[in-house]
């Protein structure tokens, strides 16, 4: 006879509706009060067989006790007492999907908080050569196996400094994709300083997704994002990004998005998002700066402020969504899509799985943030992946290998967080980011609340968001 236990879960309520989130399945159900009442009869540590379950529900005076017991079991709210282990991909070859090209280490800005500026473990090298780039594109396609679509990301430094190389890679990858009947997609992250007409036209023509690093209105942006002489980079980029957005909007290019690094002060987030959306950015996403320098880091109080601002912006997003309108707050959009897709994460991100970064000296790294850090080199273009290093990384980075995540309610969504952040703050790449555990927990729980509210008022909106992120809509028929 099978022994059951109560599944780890979060129950949340929105305007008289009750929802349950099953932690290890990332499944969200709406439940009726009698189901909630029944769930509460059991406690976390209790183990019981079907007969005991039936007796307990019957003794509590709940009608249809048999049907309810079956429901709880079938919907995995009561689960067989088996340690859940997600399928490990430590030893599998994973097709390469995304390769981040470190176009150049050089940058024409000297942003005070930049990890490239201060981290002395990073070896700065010359820009990537055409020969290396060609080899890297070949490597990406050769290792993409069954993937029909590959993504090339141009990163740096400031990648546009080496614009000729970008044009070369784009052309070569497109030709190669055509020959192999695959599709190559492109994305770039730029500081916006070098966006000339020629560059903008090229981005548009080749459907390159553009992310601009911009921190807000001038007084906020210029505080950390400066030229080497301390000059204002905001003034330099403003006409250029206006031109970029304008061209893309009128011609129908990919939406241009903004990426905000939040340093020291988080109170400005609503003001900053308004500003960026007014400039015409489709969306803006916020991330706290990764640094161990207290001059830029957000302290506990500032993180709290950031969380409150995130909540404020999510509420605003919800008001727009209720009316079927769009408010480009990337962080809540990403979270809602993640929840709607019910993703169960064993790893926090794709680094070292389907994503790697390649450096000018032909070395492969876990991700763009770790380029130049020898400890996280995963092979090179000539000899291919260092399979032992990749396996070792995957084994250590897996959620199961992070005892500090324990029975955390959001472990299958967070999976420990950014490796680079952990390396800087926790001094170990594969350690969970304990310094922002509580923050993440509260943010995800707030996301669940927003999810519940949205599904009651405008359920189809979640499908629209999913499609915006390239997923298929969630319907009753999943194939």
């Amino acid at each position: 006879m099978i022994t059951y236990k109560q599944a780890d879960h979060i129950i949340f309520k929105e305007s008289d509706h009750i929802f349950i989130f099953l932690v290890s399945e990332s499944a969200i159900f709406e439940i009726e009060p009698k189901i909630e009442k029944t769930i509460k009869l059991f406690n976390k540590s209790e183990q019981s067989n079907k007969k005991e379950i039936l007796k307990k529900i019957k003794d509590a005076g709940i009608k249809n006790y048999q049907e309810i017991a079956d429901t709880l079991i079938k919907r995995r709210i009561l689960t067989p007492l088996i340690e859940k282990k997600n399928i490990s991909c430590v030893y599998n070859k994973i097709p390469l999907k995304t390769l981040v090209f470190n176009i150049t280490d050089r940058c024409n800005l000297s942003c005070l908080y930049c990890y490239h500026n201060k981290d002395n473990k990073i070896e700065k090298t010359d820009s990537m050569t055409f020969a290396t780039a060609e080899k890297a594109v070949d490597f990406l396609f050769d290792n993409s196996d069954a993937n029909k679509k590959v993504t090339i990301v141009f990163f740096g430094g400031e990648p546009v400094i080496n614009f000729d190389l970008i044009t070369f890679i784009t052309g070569y990858a497109q030709k190669k994709a055509k020959k192999l009947q695959k599709k190559a997609e492109f994305a770039i992250t730029t500081n916006g300083t070098l966006l000339t007409e020629k560059v903008i036209d090229f981005f548009y023509q080749n459907k390159i997704g553009v992310t601009v690093s911009i921190d807000g209105p001038q007084e906020i942006h210029d505080k950390f994002r400066q030229f080497a002489d301390g000059g204002s980079s905001y003034k330099a980029i403003l006409p250029k990004i206006k031109n970029l957005i304008n061209k893309f909007q009128t011609k129908g290019g990919k939406p241009v998005v903004a990426r905000v690094t939040v340093a020291k002060n988080a109170a400005h987030l609503p003001q900053t998002l308004e500003h960026l959306l007014k400039l015409g950015f489709a969306e803006a996403g916020f991330g706290p700066v990764t640094t161990d320098n207290p001059a830029y880091q957000l302290n506990t109080d500032e993180m709290k402020i950031m969380l409150n601002k995130f909540k404020e912006l999510s509420d605003k997003f919800l008001r727009y969504a209720d009316e079927d309108k769009f408010y480009g707050f990337t962080n809540i959009i990403d979270l809602l899509v993640l929840l709607h897709q019910g993703e169960v994460k064993n790893y926090p991100c794709g680094a070292g799985l389907g994503l790697f970064a390649v450096s000018a000296e032909e070395k492969l790294y876990l991700c763009q943030r770790l380029i130049g850090n020898k400890a996280f080199c995963m092979g090179n273009l000539s000899d291919g992946f260092d399979t032992e290093a990749v396996k070792k990384f995957r084994k250590k980075a897996e959620l199961n290998a992070k005892p500090e995540c324990g029975l955390c309610e959001v472990r299958y969504i967070c999976a420990g967080g950014c490796y680079h952040e952990a390396l800087i703050r926790e001094k170990k790449l594969t350690k969970a980011n304990l310094h922002y555990c509580e923050w993440i927990k509260e943010w995800i729980k707030y996301g669940l609340k927003i999810y519940g509210k949205l599904i009651l008022k405008n359920p189809d909106y979640l499908n629209k968001l999913s499609m915006l992120r390239g997923h298929s809509p969630v319907t009753g028929h999943i194939i």
């Binding site: 006879m1 099978i2 929802f19 099953l22 399945e25 990332s26 499944a27 969200i28 159900f29 709406e30 439940i31 009726e32 009698k34 189901i35 079907k50 049907e67 309810i68 079956d70 429901t71 079991i73 079938k74 919907r75 995995r76 709210i77 067989p80 088996i82 340690e83 282990k85 929840l339 709607h340 897709q341 019910g342 993703e343 169960v344 599904i455 969630v474 319907t475 009753g476 999943i478």
Partner: protein
Amino acid sequence: MTDKKNKIKGVKALNKSAKQIEKTEEEVFGMADEDIITSMPIGCTTIFDTGWETNPRSTTPIGNCVSSARDFTSCSGPCWWPAQTPDNITNFPDFQNQCRAIEKDWRNLNFVIKK
């Protein structure tokens, strides 16, 4: 809340993962559960043509056999014939989820009913 046959009263699946649980429940019944439908044929070849499951598409390899490498988990129902396991690659990826370590979890192995 009960508009579809696989929807249970009182619990409504909202996201993809929840809907997947609904769908899986429709296909896989727990063998060791006391409430299984016992009128289903159990045993060799009545519902299992060797290899029918692994490729339902019209492309090669058509009807390829269950890999011998998986024989050790191939004890479904009362029949211990190696090819009796439903394929856990194409049609029933969740088949073995409750049986991670064969030596201790074998009682949880399920059988499947193709609808």
